[in-house]
Symmetry: none
Subunit: 413 residues, 2 copies
């Protein structure tokens, strides 16, 4: 009988790269000092991975769906529901969810600031949220949550909703807020609800005490919400339903928490875990160890700092983020190496030279103390090409992890 | 015009492994002295293979369907029909087949011995078989064949049969024989037939002369049959229909013979071929050569001893089984190397440390005197990772073999 273990998936966002001139032509993985990743590479199986498909640049959300074993072509609901779940709004199949910005408009609904100055404090956000959350428009209930700065998530629940409507955000200042229009037959109701809601948000927000104070301090009032990224929550089988496992996510960013919750993972809060280089790697390691020991069968740890450094064209910061993640993984291995099967990888390549996602494959190492080693001796995009995993796809990762961890029953006899 | 050759597929069951401490950290393939496999590896194309899919542990039956080029998800009928075909019972589409055990029950149908002492002789089996084969229950005909020890195969033929019924075997002694229940609407009839059949088998067997003799000798009587592994024979296109080839199987185990017959192979009897290390490797080589010379276009040779050694946690025996297979392949190459394209591989990994199937990929070498060599110099799981075949799936094997052997027409012009 195969022993059952916990599958640990560690994803460094956007960590794949191309040769970086500032690093002597090395990639960030090659330039970083990563004794723990290299030990995994030396004693595990390595490979390159097209997270979606060869040539297809992934988004972070679709990439993670694939890494969790879900075909993003079938299962991607759009960004809205994933952000909403990540913000703690439990959208359900049939709901339509949006990303939301607080913005500043004049009395003609002409956009003056698309982000209302960006600097909405948590206290201000709470007041603004209270004015919007729970609104009822026709037979549709509105749920709203403020997240950070000018951002929030909004969920519409009710019959016959559609995500196929046009944007209300003109994406430019000096232009009026747009009318949402149905993009397909059957979306008329949702467009009407959204148009009523945007106007109602202005009515409810413009005279709030919080905005009076902002104006007094010379700040733009947060007097309307602009919605974007609509998506309809689809029913997908959870990891629990597929494999009979308990799965957990440790992540700082709402999108990653939301994508993991979408496939049924529990969000485990880690004190000090953020989406930046200042995230508390020590706390993440401790909580990951605790989560593994608490009997979770699949633990997903997301590190965002690598992607931020890439978008900022900052190779040194990217190397630093990789080295800190390496140390974090080392701490986890010191404690629970015998209890896990681990994969370390990236969700896509974000070359620091480009500052945006590209289609280049990413390296992956799969390790447990019983897995057959290959000839690879270091963890990087270049070394991984010689590995025994060969060239896999993102959708292979979870079946591989759970197969080696003993959670996939034999097919046939 | 491409010269046509015979495709030879040699499968060592469960032969893939992980590093084995008793063998100095080598796998059985690495530890074994295999001059012939190594010659194939040096002058052929090597690769690693996920027989079903990455992370998916194969059964032997589903693995072989894949190796024969059939998607097991679509074409796997369950074990019953494959065992029945292997036992010489020609099940046909619509038939439902079972694996059968002779068991011992008391007069209340409480199970005393699930295997009736295991030691049913061929002579005893024949008498027992005669009491069951040809029974008619309602409009359903029962065919039964004794195979070895307490084992047999049983086929139900008639209208509207289903394999979706629950087990009658309580899988414990001291418990009564269970009532088969329909697991889906429409399976009621089959459950009823099976319940009648099991009770009827007791009536027909309990007073047989063979059982009176067994009781006199202090042996448990074989006084009932317990059925398991029901499966409905599905229509699949044969290899002949797909490729216009004549295919043959040389195997010792009923399951492998049956799976090969399911896709249209002829079973070629080899004197002394068994499912153990004592199988007559010399006779298998001679018969394989003869079968190739007789104009078969596809010859499948199955060696079971590697898997038995693995299930028994016996690395030395596994190495021995590999070395004997290597010598067998050497003899075949000596005679017909110019006439064949050969693939040597395993159907799955059964680590001696685990004693059960696992999801680790297996090595494969594809050779003919015209195939492009790669840089691999030995046949093993570790070496094969560097091969030119890359990382393939089980379903690629038959197309590759038949493609190189000249049996797959050009697609397009």
């Amino acid at each position: 009988m195969t022993e059952k273990r916990t599958a640990l998936l560690v994803v460094m966002d956007g960590a794949g790269d191309r040769p970086i001139p500032e690093l002597g032509g090395k990639t960030a993985f090659q330039a970083a000092d990563t004794p723990n990743f290299d030990r995994l590479a030396q004693t595990g199986m390595n490979g390159l991975m097209d997270v979606i498909a060869p040539g297809q640049t992934p988004g972070s959300d679709t990439a993670h769906l694939a890494l969790f074993g879900y075909d993003p072509i079938d299962s991607y609901p759009g960004r809205g529901p994933l952000e909403a779940l990540g913000a703690g709004l439990d959208s359900r199949p049939g709901d339509v969810a949006f990303r939301s910005n607080f913005a500043t408009v004049d009395s003609n609904l002409t956009v003056i600031d698309r982000r209302a100055g960006r600097d909405i404090s948590p206290e201000e956000g709470r007041e603004l949220q209270e004015a919007l959350d729970g609104l009822q428009i026709e037979d549709v209930t509105v749920r709203f949550v403020h997240t950070v700065e000018h951002r929030g998530a909004l969920v519409l629940s009710g019959p016959s909703l559609s995500a196929e409507i046009s944007d209300v955000d003109p994406h430019e200042t000096g232009k009026p807020v747009l009318e949402a229009r149905p993009l397909v037959p059957g979306a008329e109701k949702t467009a009407r609800i959204v148009n009523k809601l945007v106007r109602l948000s202005h009515e409810r927000l413009k005279d709030l005490e919080v905005n009076r104070r902002r104006v007094e301090r010379g700040l733009p009032p947060a007097n309307i919400i602009l919605l974007r990224g609509p998506g309809k929550h689809r029913e997908v089988p959870t990891l629990q339903q597929r494999y009979g496992i308990r799965a957990a996510v440790l992540a700082g960013g709402a999108l990653y928490i939301g994508t993991a919750r979408y496939v049924g993972m529990d969000h485990i809060h880690v004190e000090g875990q953020t989406g930046t280089i200042d995230t508390n790697f020590g706390n993440i390691a401790s909580k990951a160890i605790e989560t593994i020991r608490q009997g979770y069968n699949y633990v997903f740890v997301h590190i965002k700092a690598t992607d931020n450094a890439s978008h900022d064209h900052n190779p040194e910061q990217k190397v630093l983020a990789i080295e800190r993640t390496d140390a974090m993984v080392g701490r986890i291995l010191d404690e629970v190496a015998d209890d896990i099967v681990v994969a370390v990888t990236a969700d896509h390549t974000t070359p620091v030279s480009v500052g945006d996602h590209t289609c280049d494959p990413v390296p992956i190492v799969l390790w447990s103390d019983f897995i057959r080693p290959d000839s690879v001796t270091a963890f990087s995009e270049i070394d991984a090409a010689q590995g025994a995993l060969g060239h896999i796809r993102g959708m292979d990762v979870t079946p591989l992890l759970l197969g080696y961890a003993g959670w996939v029953p034999k097919f046939g006899s």
